[in-house]
Symmetry: C2
Subunit: 201 residues, 2 copies
Amino acid sequence: MAASERGPRERMVFSAAQLIRRDGVTATGMRDVAVHAGAPRGSLQHYFPGGKEQLVNEAVDWAGTYAARRVGRFLAQLPEPTPSGLFAAMVRQWTDEYESSGFAGGCPVAAATVDCAQTTDSTRTAAAAAFARWIRPVADALADMGVPADRTESLATLMISALEGALLIARTERDVRALTTVVRELGPLLDASAVPAAPRG
Amino acid sequence: MAASERGPRERMVFSAAQLIRRDGVTATGMRDVAVHAGAPRGSLQHYFPGGKEQLVNEAVDWAGTYAARRVGRFLAQLPEPTPSGLFAAMVRQWTDEYESSGFAGGCPVAAATVDCAQTTDSTRTAAAAAFARWIRPVADALADMGVPADRTESLATLMISALEGALLIARTERDVRALTTVVRELGPLLDASAVPAAPRG
DNA sequence: CCCGGCTTATGACAGCGGTCATAGTAGCCA
DNA sequence: TGGCTACTATGACCGCTGTCATAAGCCGGG
């Protein structure tokens, strides 16, 4: 995460996402974000005239595009692309982090949803867009693997749902058990849904 | 939710859970809880000398036992108990609420996890206990339905993970789509795992 | 009557939140 | 040099938070 050589604006968005996924939106202060980003406090109102709401929304946006981009990288790294392999790679990103750096943070989109879904509609919308941007490449990848078109989006939704829920449980338990469990149990179902008889040329 | 005729203490715990699942832990103030419960503010420090931390932990506890108890009720209502039927009933509780009362609140345990998992260890532990208390009866029910003993807990974890994640997505989208999707996609897998010693046929 | 308890009632306090206002600096262009 | 724009720097404001201190009400028992 060498975010040191980016503009101060982008660094603040990145730091906001980091702090939000640790402590939640409400507990994350604007001053904290500036300090964490090594950015001057005065830049906050300059780059984010919309205040905290704008900063949070951009952090959620950033997280969504980041997650979506990761999907492409996972696919490129898979020796042979299978639904269970993709899902395992998505989950492994989290188990790796938890086992190497501790269970400090969760998903920033989930945090924004919990804290702002009812009060701040723009953030709720941003979170929905982030989930959609994340589901899209997963569903497309499933289609390429031979999953019927009418189930790709459903299975992608299921994968991300299971991942998000397992993240919550893993953080409470400080144990990756829930994450490895959903991979083990869901993998066969995902692969079974990919019928190789219908590969679109 | 006729919680009017319970002691003020229990009413405050109940109200805390209600407000937490709407706005998150940090955004929920002690004074708000007292007002929502129709309880005097002075009772807060009397019944909860441990402060907000104690109140939140008890709210999480309450949510866990409530969820666990619901499982038993779902089972009693099912005409013939199947894993997919149980899962559908668990999810339907949420779709019913969302369609009748709006997408105001999520799961209080999830909210406590997002907001306190890193900062307040006692709350993190309480959330883990709540999940465990919820998973237990689900796993036991799966065992009764013929699921092999070494998979009951795994499948229960998967069910609750998928539910929690779908809850997040549903709240952001203000649409029960994610909830109905996980039921539709996960149901067959769950039923297929229940082999009551009788092979296919 | 007064006396103990359990509860309720307020008021104050110290701290932090986001936001605004205002002033300062740096660098480029003419 | 002057002036313009982009960015930085502070300090103050008001509202709200959790918590404490203190005192009042209520009510059954002596």
